[in-house]
Amino acid sequence: MSIAIRDGVIMIAGHCPVEEAEMLLVALLENPGSGVDLSAATRLHMAVAQLLAAAKPPVVAAPRDAFLRDMLLPALFHLDQ
């Protein structure tokens, strides 16, 4: 139960295994322009992360997890791509 939409924001929480990529993709397609809240995310599968990198939705709340916040988040949204 780690991908949900609340008040127009895509909430990504807990451990998101590979299967959740599909749900995130649908959420991103159905809610174009909506932000993502990663504050409760603890682990993202690469499949989930690469979708965020491809869509680059606005991040409403950064993850609290140190690796996700300090390593992954900057890597997903930087401009080397």
């Binding site: 590979v18 990529a21 599909e22 995130l24 993709l25 991103l28 397609l29 682990r43 993202l44 599968h45 690469m46 499949a47 992360a49 690469q50 979708l51 990198a53 491809a54 869509a55 690796f67 390593m71 992954l72 900057p74 890597a75 997903l76 930087h78 401009l79 080397d80 791509q81």
Partner: protein, 640 residues
């Protein structure tokens, strides 16, 4: 001091340490490419730094060393003993020149020495062939990686770069590339890049991996390889050896996250925190006085006092943590000094230093060098035999001397060991008797371990056998005194014929206590300042007898007066002026009469031990700068 010079002295010496570390590795494994890289980096950076100062000879020798190292890296050859020795001599000499620069400038003849060293460097052979490096130039992926916005500013911190290109159906195999990345040791930064352009969301297949991950790690290449060993076909890893691309460290202030603080400011901060503790105790007094007027106000005051106490103890902890520094700068000269000593004494030794990056209170770090150096001298001079004597005794010609530093709980443990001749208790007993340090029959009653400790007696080692090396008129008693000043202990474990180990235990945090020294009955004592409300002088006539006791008036209050000397079983004071110390540690105010009030000092107080443990009024002891022992009184116990 010039800020640039100050920075150079710090960083230059760090680089010397780095170079020596690499040289130590190369001594054991001449083909270690990571060590060659590290040595090259240190040499290259040093060369750039010395050029900023009047140190042309240093630049010359470092250039020669760098040139040789480039050759070693290119050809994939290793450093042979001759080249290794020349490199060690070069780094040692640059180290001395840095010391000289700090003292004012390079000595005359530095240029000539530089020429000689450069000669030695260029003529030394590097002969052992190693597997050739695969690429001379950076491969394309590494060039791209170096240019990434996410990574290029972090290259200077990184040791290893990697590119992980998971195959597109790796998700189906159960791989999660991101969890592998999260497991890379000392990860510094990553960039996630699409293998082709990002597809639109409408066409993306969420279960195909379409990205590569470029990353930097501060760990060595082997450690990074280990993290990716399950995907060897999808990973490329390279050491970031050459510093040609790395920004100059010396000028790179922008990236620095640490703040260098003048140590005097830090000492001042610590002292002020101590004063806060003392000032806080005044609130206790106020609360006691308020009790008589308004007990709820008194309660509030006590609560406020407790809150301040908590905050001030947190402050003290933070200061202790800030004061903890790496021992590396203190110990960095040790390997060089060990080599020089061994050479001058005709001894063949291998010196190893372990744990020099351990952190301890600045005061401990500052004061540790002298006693350790003395122990090192002692080990090389007296502990270790000549190569001939060692061979005769059936040992290897090369002796081993090791200094090991470790943290155990809140103690810093330093162990200096050698595999030399050991300390013969019989010889020590005889020596001590001969020097009239101990009676012959008393010597015989000592156990072997106690007898070995006789070497710590003043006068034991300052006699005939003192050589120019261990000499300087200081004996092992100086070592003991220095360790005791730091509230530490030193033990000897020695086996005649097999070697000696000195085991030093010190507090990691220097916990200083503010003391007021007072003289009473001819002896100086320390009183804890936080147990003192005030000090004052009154006419001795103003002290009157009431019943069995004496009282006086201070600020409209009647206080009982007790003579400290009498409390300690000595005759009381008789002077016309009575010097009083007012304390409230027992819940009521008491004026203690002393002969003289001394100074306020910060001292490390050691809990009472040994003989003093049985004396109730003694709270502990402190060893003063002159080596004398100050007895710190425990006022609550004394007045109870």
């Amino acid at each position: 001091m010039d800020e640039l010079l100050e920075q150079f002295l710090l960083e230059g010496r760090d680089l010397i340490v780095e170079a020596h570390r690499a040289l130590d590795v190369l001594a054991l494994n001449p083909g270690d490419t990571a060590a060659v890289d590290s040595l090259f980096r240190a040499t290259h950076t040093l060369k750039g730094s010395v050029a900023l100062f009047d140190m042309a000879p240093a630049e010359t020798v470092l250039h020669a060393a760098e040139t040789r190292l480039v050759g070693v890296r290119r050809s994939g050859m290793s450093t042979d003993p001759e080249l290794h020795a020349a490199l060690v001599a070069t780094i040692d000499q640059v180290d001395r020149w840095i010391d000289a620069l700090e003292a004012g400038g390079l000595p005359d003849g530095a240029a000539g020495l530089g020429e000689q060293l450069s000669q030695a460097l260029s003529s030394a052979e590097a002969v052992v062939h190693l597997p050739k490096r695969e690429e001379e130039e950076d491969p394309a992926w590494l060039v791209q990686l170096r240019a990434r916005a996410m990574l290029r500013n972090r290259l200077a911190d990184a040791t290893t770069a990697f590119r992980y290109t998971p195959d597109s159906d790796c998700f189906f195999r159960g791989d999660d590339p991101l969890s592998l990345i999260a497991a890379v040791p000392e990860l510094i930064a990553v960039a996630i890049v699409p293998n082709t352009d990002w597809p639109s969301l409408e066409t993306i297949d969420p279960f195909r991996c379409i990205v590569s991950i470029d990353g930097l790690s501060g760990a060595g290449i082997e450690a990074v390889q280990a993290a990716f060993r399950l995907v060897p076909d999808q990973i490329v890893i390279a050491p970031l050896g050459s510093s040609a691309h790395a920004p100059q460290r010396l000028m790179d202030f922008g990236a620095e996250t640490t703040l260098r603080v003048d140590s005097n400011s830090l000492d001042r901060l610590a002292r002020q925190a101590g004063e806060l503790t003392v000032a806080r105790s005044g609130l206790k007094t106020l609360a006691a006085r308020a009790d008589a007027i308004d007990s709820s106000l008194a309660q509030d005051l006590r609560r406020a006092e407790a809150a301040i106490e908590q905050a001030s103890s947190a402050l003290s902890h933070s200061i202790s943590a800030i004061r903890r520094v790496s021992l590396a700068p203190t110990l960095r000269r040790m390997p060089r000094l060990a080599r020089e000593l061994a050479e001058s004494l005709g001894k063949d030794i291998g010196f190893s230093l372990v744990g020099d990056s351990v952190r301890a209170d600045k005061q401990i770090a500052d004061m540790l060098f002298e006693p350790l150096l003395h122990l090192l001298r002692n080990a090389i001079d007296h502990g270790v035999e000549t190569p001939e004597a060692r061979i005769a005794a059936g040992k290897s010609a090369k002796a081993q001397v090791a200094l090991q530093i470790a943290i155990e709980g809140d103690r810093l443990i330093a162990t200096m060991s050698d595999d030399g001749r050991g300390i013969d208790p019989t010889l020590v007993r005889a020596g001590a008797v001969e020097k009239a340090l101990i009676e012959a029959d008393a010597a015989l009653t000592l156990s072997d371990v106690q007898a070995q400790r006789l070497i710590f007696l003043p006068g034991f080692s300052t006699a005939a056998e003192v050589s120019t090396v261990s000499g300087r008129g200081v004996g092992m008693d100086a070592v003991l005194r220095a360790i005791e000043r730091l509230q530490g202990t030193i033990d000897i474990h020695s086996e005649p014929g097999a070697g000696t180990r000195f085991h030093i235990s010190l507090p990691v945090n220097a916990i200083t206590t503010r003391l007021l020294t007072v003289v009473s009955g001819g002896t100086t004592y320390g009183l804890r300042l936080d147990q003192i409300v005030e000090t004052t002088r009154i006419d001795a006539d103003a002290i009157t007898m009431v019943g069995q006791g004496q009282v006086c008036m201070i600020r409209d209050r009647v206080l009982p007066v007790m003579d400290l000397a009498q409390l300690l079983g000595q005759p009381g004071e008789t002077s016309d002026i009575a010097r009083l110390v007012v304390t409230e540690v027992t819940g009521e105010s008491v004026a203690l009469r002393v002969r003289a009030l001394g100074e306020r000092i910060d001292a490390m107080v050691r809990a009472r031990s040994g003989l003093l443990a049985s004396v109730p009024a003694v709270g502990g002891t402190s060893v003063l700068a002159d080596g004398s022992v100050l007895i710190v009184l425990d006022l609550p116990e004394l007045l109870a």
